[in-house]
């Protein structure tokens, strides 16, 4: 039986894994990155838009060297109710709002960046179990029968990661803790996408097209991807909705969507679960859970890629510090990991946005949500809803507390204000270097 010994083993080459492996290798750790797909990204389904409010963090600047499909600067939201449809068109930042990517290209590039930094990479390798000694995780077992040892294991294996499950940290989840969504990629060609979508993403809310979530259309270079689904409660499936595919079919059948996709062909379909709450515990002796495995997804917004990059990097730093200090027990790993997370304004801000939205959305039926959002006149976005919810509560109760909260929150979301010319210059320089290579 083959064996191997490393400082750090990272399981999964999605967003968190390569970030962790690259960081660890740069810090001088003997690092192994394992991925079950033949090409990183080919087992992934996601929203595929990277948020600039995260990318302005210097830790993530290197990601601007990666393959980008389209720069997104604007967003439209369609609120479709029985009596009227309201369209909000927002330009929330002065520069690039999001970078639209393909995970099968981007994750593959990111994995090569980890390899170039000195990490060993093994593709087409499935981890089947964790190795334990005296209650500490000390390695993994692969489907090839290899026992691979490490001082620390970083789990970046996604929402149902076997590592986190075997380690007893990832439980079963459903109801309002889990979202099941389906995606479809429609090929339209660059010219038609430029004309119909340009640099704008779209969100929809309408009858029969979602279950308490937000269907979306994100343009890439040659295709647009659509996503919809809902919380895995008892109302998700049944009656007129035999499957989550029904929501997608109804979405495709909306007259406004049908027109936008005219002449297009479905070229790919995907399905994904998304955990929508916080895990109770993310660290054990010798193990840190990152990305979706660690439940690092902004609930309700479903945004998980920036959280994955950050937590991958932070887990690697925490592991390196713990290994250097000769103590990889939970307390040492968790202390540094949590400290780094707490300092990240982006993650804290989005958790707040998400939690407030989730609370206000899940308490109402879809029709009421559509009407409520139509009344959010300041722009119709998720951030606005947080402000609006607090403000209106304060006004209704004659209490200045929630109004102050709204003001404080406005200060808190300053990262969006920072997305301006400097970021665009940096992006353009890095992409120009990429193209020159």
């Amino acid at each position: 039986m083959a064996t191997g010994t490393y400082d750090l083993i990272v399981v999964g080459a999605g967003c968190a894994g390569p970030a962790a492996a690259k960081t660890a290798a740069e810090l001088g750790l003997k690092t192994l990155l394992l991925e079950k797909a033949r090409v990183p990204g080919e087992k992934n389904v996601s929203g595929t838009c990277l948020n600039s409010a995260a990318l302005i963090d210097p830790d993530l600047h290197y990601l601007l060297d990666g393959p980008v499909e389209r720069e997104i600067r604007e967003m439209r939201t369609y609120h479709i109710a029985a009596d009227r449809t309201t369209v909000f068109h927002e330009i929330p930042a002065r520069g690039i709002l999001l970078l639209s990517i393909r995970r099968d290209h981007f994750d593959a590039w990111h994995t090569e960046a980890a390899r170039a930094a000195g990490a060993e990479v093994r593709l087409a390798t499935t981890v089947t179990d964790v190795l334990e000694e005296d209650g500490a995780i000390c390695g993994v077992l692969t489907d090839g029968g290899e026992r691979l040892s490490a001082r620390v294991v970083i789990d970046a294996g996604g929402v149902n990661s076997l590592v986190g499950r075997r380690a007893g940290l990832i439980p079963k989840r459903e109801g309002h803790d889990m979202i099941l969504y389906v995606t479809a990629a429609v090929h339209l060609g660059k010219e038609r996408i430029d004309e119909r979508f340009g640099d704008c993403i779209e969100y929809y809310l309408g009858p029969g097209i979602q279950h308490k979530t937000w269907p979306w259309i994100f343009p890439k270079r040659e295709v647009v991807t659509l996503g919809t689904g809902g919380y895995m409660d008892e109302e998700l499936i049944g009656g007129a909705v035999p499957s989550v595919n029904t929501y997608m079919q109804n979405f495709l059948d909306l007259p406004v969507v049908r027109k936008k996709l005219e002449g297009g062909t479905i070229v790919a379909w995907g399905l994904h679960l998304e955990f929508d709450e916080s895990l109770e515990q993310r660290v054990r002796d010798g193990l840190i859970l990152t990305g979706e495995a660690g439940g690092f997804v902004a609930p309700f917004l479903g945004q998980g890629m920036p959280e994955a990059f950050f937590t991958g990097i932070y887990a690697a730093r925490a592991a390196a510090a713990a290994i250097a200090a000769g103590d990889v027990a939970r307390e040492a790993l968790e202390g540094r990991f949590e400290e780094l997370l707490g300092e990240n304004i982006f993650m804290q801000a989005f958790r707040h946005v998400a939690a407030t939205n989730k609370k206000s959305i899940l308490s109402k039926p879809d029709e009421e949500i559509a009407a409520m959002m139509q009344n959010v006149v300041m722009g119709g976005g998720f951030i606005t809803n947080v402000l609006h919810t607090n403000w209106m509560r304060g006004a209704a109760e004659g209490d200045l507390g929630p109004v102050q909260e709204a003001y404080d929150f406005l200060e808190f979301v300053q990262p969006y204000r920072e997305i301006g010319g400097d970021f665009e210059t940096l992006y353009n320089e890095r992409q120009a270097r990429r193209k020159a290579r």
Binding site: K36, A37, R38, G41, E42, K43, N44, V45, S46, T48, I101, R102, R103, D104, F106, D107, L123, A124, T125, T126, V127, T128, T142, D143, G144, V159, N160, L162, K172, R173, E174, M178, L180, V182, A184, A185, V186, K220, V223, T225, M232, L236, I237, G238, S243, V244, N245, M248, Q249, L252, L261, G264, I266, V267, A268, W269, G270, L271, H272, L273
Partner: protein
């Protein structure tokens, strides 16, 4: 536009990565209900993943099984579903 579930697969045998502990299955049918791919079917007094070759490894069945009757593993490395566009 009619929704087509277009997915690719890697060549090679993914192995029996979903199995049922039949003693525990109470035939509640939640696995079949939440599966978007029609993998599950009632066979006698239990449910079985009779069309596992159509599975896209989302794990919905494992998550909604309240009887702990589903063992949800991973396909062998480099096999199983292959998504495009992410």
């Amino acid at each position: 536009m009619k929704l087509e579930m277009k997915v690719d697969r890697y060549p090679g045998d993914p192995g029996e990565f979903i199995t049922v502990v039949e003693d525990r299955c109470t035939a509640c049918g939640r696995c079949e209900r939440f599966c978007a791919r029609g993998v599950w079917e009632r066979v006698g007094t239990v449910y079985r993943p009779v069309r596992i070759e159509d599975c896209v490894e989302c794990g919905a069945c494992w998550n909604v099984c309240r009887d702990d009757a589903i063992v949800f593993g991973e396909p062998r490395g480099g096999t199983g579903v292959r998504f495009s566009y992410g």
